[in-house]
């Protein structure tokens, strides 16, 4: 049952990812990336990480992708604006990515992973547990990340502001 679920989710993930890369229209890319992110959220739930699944949907699908969507619409990009690379370069790109995949898989195969026995049912992924970790062991990084956000916000505003002449 769970294997079936895994496979169907995986196929969806890979397909939507491929669409992101190969479609000519930026709008399609964005939309299929949203689909891809939803399937990854599904994987998180499958892995018993409910908190992350929710955060993932909110942050990525809700915030980041909306930002992408806005940008694409704002710049009024369409298929014509994105000329594909020449045939040789496309083949080179695919070959390079394929080689990377092959070598990575080969590396994984040659690596002996530690024994991952089946753990007892845990509530590691629940909000309560992750929240506790965040506000105790990881309090400082958590606070610092708020500063990061603040500076990113200011940076974004400054950069995208229209320059006065």
């Amino acid at each position: 049952m769970s294997q079936l679920l895994f496979f169907s989710l995986s196929i969806l993930t890979i397909l939507s990812a491929l669409v992101v890369v190969f479609t000519r229209k930026p709008m399609y890319s964005v939309l299929s990336l949203i689909v891809c992110f939803f399937t990854i959220a599904g994987h998180y739930i499958l892995l018993n990480a409910q908190f992350l699944a929710i955060t993932h949907v909110i942050v990525y699908a809700g915030a980041i992708m909306v930002l992408f969507l806005f940008t694409v619409m704002l710049l009024n990009l369409n298929a014509e604006s994105d000329q594909p690379k020449s045939g040789k370069l496309r083949i080179a790109a695919m070959v390079a990515a394929g080689m990377l995949f092959v070598t990575l898989v080969a590396s994984i195969k040659s690596t002996t992973l530690g024994e991952f026995s089946l753990p007892p049912a845990s509530d590691n992924g629940f909000v309560q547990h992750v929240g506790q970790r965040l506000f105790t062991d990881y309090l400082l990084p958590f606070e610092i990340s708020s500063i990061l956000f603040l500076s990113a916000m200011i940076g974004a505003v400054v950069l995208s502001k229209k320059e006065k002449h």
Binding site: K85, L89, A92, A93, A96, A97, M99, L100, T103, L104, A106, S107, S110
Partner: protein, 632 residues
């Protein structure tokens, strides 16, 4: 006592600072008085110290601990004993008189303030030199006076020839200083200290005349050769006459050039332990004395004659040191400081009266026109010539007596040199002051006696030149030799090491004195006949032939140095500069740079600026890294 001792060098230093830093805000002319009073105050301190300090007493002032590492401990220390006292009195006393004289002499000069600034700095360094309690302190003073000498020789820096003279003096002194420095290193290495008193106590423990001691003393003496203008490094001193005349009097006659003698006497125990060096010093001194005296015969520049005379007299002092007669050397140093400073100041007064004329062929007949200068100059010439009962007579005679006692040949040469001195000094006097004036009427009209600031020092120095001999009356007069007794605490340790011959009997000594005195008078009379009665004139330079020409051109020593040393050094420098530096060093550097440039130009096409290409390269790189990881 410590306070007074400290004030002695500090007062001229303060004068230097005030004049140097605030000089341009002070009223014009006041800077000369500030400089003079600083030295006078220092002289007063010296006298106060002298009053309280017995002959055998010493004062040690450690201002602060200066260099301290490992076993080496060098303090910034001052040391006062009888030898220091004598030198202090000469430096500050004669120094003050020359300062006073300079107020009149330098009046109206654009560099008036600068002149007194330098003079005070010089006095400060000279005092450090004579008061230093270790060789490093002496070295500071040694270098400092060299610097001031350089600054003052080139005082009128707009004249290139003067600048060259200053440089020549500086470079020649450097050669000697290198010897001094090396000697110091050897002392530090073998004795573990630079403190003069410590070295003095350690030295007698070593083997006499060992290579080490000969080496150290020879190196120290090389320093003295440079500073005191002995053969073969004497040529800078006549050229140093480019400086203002008070400078010649102070630095190049009375004080700085005697630093070498002071240093040798200061380390007399070391030198006494190395008789070979003493013999060397003796012959260098004797040779210099007669060599410079011969050159002096044919010089026509009033200051050049005095310069060669100084070289000659310094040679005489070194001969005394070489004979082991340290106190006699100091005695002659003191009397020489009096009459030579006076001679220079008198010459300055003559030059002042004639508005810069220095050639004695254009003088003459000044006797009536500038009587004070004439009288003092005449007495000083008598003193230096060894006229009986004047100061030079006693000090010279003492040296000659020592020579007679130890080595007859040395005595003969020194006696000849002394007679030559008498001759060229009176040649100078008669040509300058007697007969008729040989310059233009215009000049003659303006001749006037110098102001009191100039004549007062002349008179005081004249009195000192006449009575200076009282410092060291010989034993035959049944009086104590004051200087000898006073310096005993310094020279005694070495006297024990040197075994002198039998002292001369009183009859021989009186005989020698009478002989020398009569000979000097005879020479003076001969000079009078030649230059006054017969009105002989020095020939023009271009009609001279043979030996006189050789002498007049100073035996071509400068030319020989020029062709044998200076030129080859220049040739080597230009070879190094034009060939070695340009062809080899620059070539290596430039071709490295060129190779980098060429390489960079060919590689930079890789930086296309295309992000895609960069990412592609990155991915390929990752793949390669993984493959390498897998294969290994």
């Amino acid at each position: 006592m410590t306070f007074l001792g400290l004030m002695i060098p500090l007062l001229p230093l303060m004068g230097f600072l005030v004049n140097g830093l605030l000089g341009k805000y002070l009223p014009k002319g006041s800077t000369g008085w500030i400089g003079s009073i600083a030295v006078l105050a220092s002289f007063v301190c010296v006298l106060l110290v002298f009053k309280d300090l017995g002959a055998a007493q010493t004062v040690q002032i450690d201002v602060f601990n200066w260099i301290s590492f490992g076993k080496i401990d060098i303090s910034f220390g001052l040391w006062i004993d009888s030898l220091t006292m004598i030198m202090l009195m000469v430096v500050t006393g004669v120094g003050f008189l020359i300062h006073l004289y300079s107020i009149g002499y330098m009046h109206g000069d654009a560099g008036f303030t600068r002149f007194f600034t330098y003079l005070n700095l010089f006095i400060f360094f000279m005092l450090l030199l004579v008061m230093g309690s270790n060789y490093l302190m002496i070295f500071i003073g040694w270098e400092g006076v060299g610097l001031c000498s350089y600054l003052l020789i080139g005082f009128w820096y707009k004249n290139d020839a003067y600048n060259d003279a200053a440089q020549k003096a500086f470079v020649m002194n450097r050669i000697g200083d290198l010897g001094f420095l090396l000697g110091m290193f050897f002392i530090l290495f073998h004795f573990g200290t630079l403190d003069i008193q410590a070295v003095k106590e350690l030295a007698p423990g070593l083997t006499a005349n060992s290579t080490l001691l000969i080496g150290i003393t020879m190196l120290l003496f090389v320093g003295a050769i440079g500073k005191s203008a002995q053969l073969p490094l004497f040529t800078w001193l006549p050229d140093a006459m480019a400086g203002p005349t008070p400078v010649s009097a102070l630095i190049h006659a009375a004080t700085m050039v005697t630093a070498g003698i002071y240093m040798v006497v200061r380390s007399n125990v070391l030198f006494a332990m190395a008789p070979t060096t003493l013999t060397f010093i003796l012959w260098i001194g004797v040779a210099t004395s007669v060599f410079a005296a011969v050159i002096g015969l044919k010089q026509n520049d009033i200051k050049k004659v005095l310069a060669y005379s100084t070289v000659s007299q310094l040679g005489l002092m070194f001969a005394a040191l070489g004979l082991g007669a340290f106190s006699s050397g100091i005695f002659h140093l003191v009397t020489h400081a009096f009459f030579k400073a006076l001679l220079f100041l008198g010459a300055g007064s003559v030059i002042h009266a004639l508005h810069g004329e220095q050639d004695i062929r254009k003088m003459g007949g000044l006797k009536k026109l500038i009587p004070v200068t004439y009288l003092t100059f005449f007495l000083a010439s008598l003193a230096i010539s060894g006229f009986p009962l004047l100061s030079g007579f006693f000090s010279k005679d003492e040296i000659l007596a020592h020579a007679f006692e130890q080595n007859k040949l040395v005595w003969i040469i020194l006696f000849a040199s002394s007679m030559l001195t008498a001759f060229y000094m009176f040649r100078l006097v008669f040509l300058t002051f007697y007969n008729d004036f040989r310059g233009t009427e215009e000049t003659k009209h303006h001749i006037h006696e110098s102001p009191w600031t100039m004549t007062l020092p002349l008179i005081i120095l004249c009195v000192l030149s006449v009575i200076g001999g009282l410092l060291g009356l010989p034993a035959v007069f049944k009086m104590t030799h004051w200087l000898d007794t006073y310096l005993a605490s310094v020279t005694e340790p070495s006297a024990a090491l040197l075994h002198h011959g039998e002292p001369l009997s009183h009859s021989i000594e009186i005989g020698l004195m009478a002989f020398a005195g009569l000979a000097a008078i005879a020479v003076i009379v001969f000079a009078y006949r030649k230059y006054v009665s017969l009105k002989a004139m020095p020939e023009e330079d271009n009609v001279l032939t043979g030996l006189p020409k050789l002498i007049s051109n100073k035996f071509y020593v400068d030319e020989i140095y020029e062709s044998q040393i200076t030129k080859p050094v220049f040739r080597m420098s230009s070879w190094l500069g034009n060939f070695f530096d340009k062809k080899i060093v620059d070539q290596a550097v430039n071709s490295t740079a060129d190779a980098m440039g060429t390489g960079g130009r060919s590689i930079r096409t890789l930086q296309s600026g295309n992000t895609g290409a960069y990412v592609f390269a990155m991915v390929i790189g990752m793949v390669i890294l993984f493959i390498i990881r897998l294969l290994i």
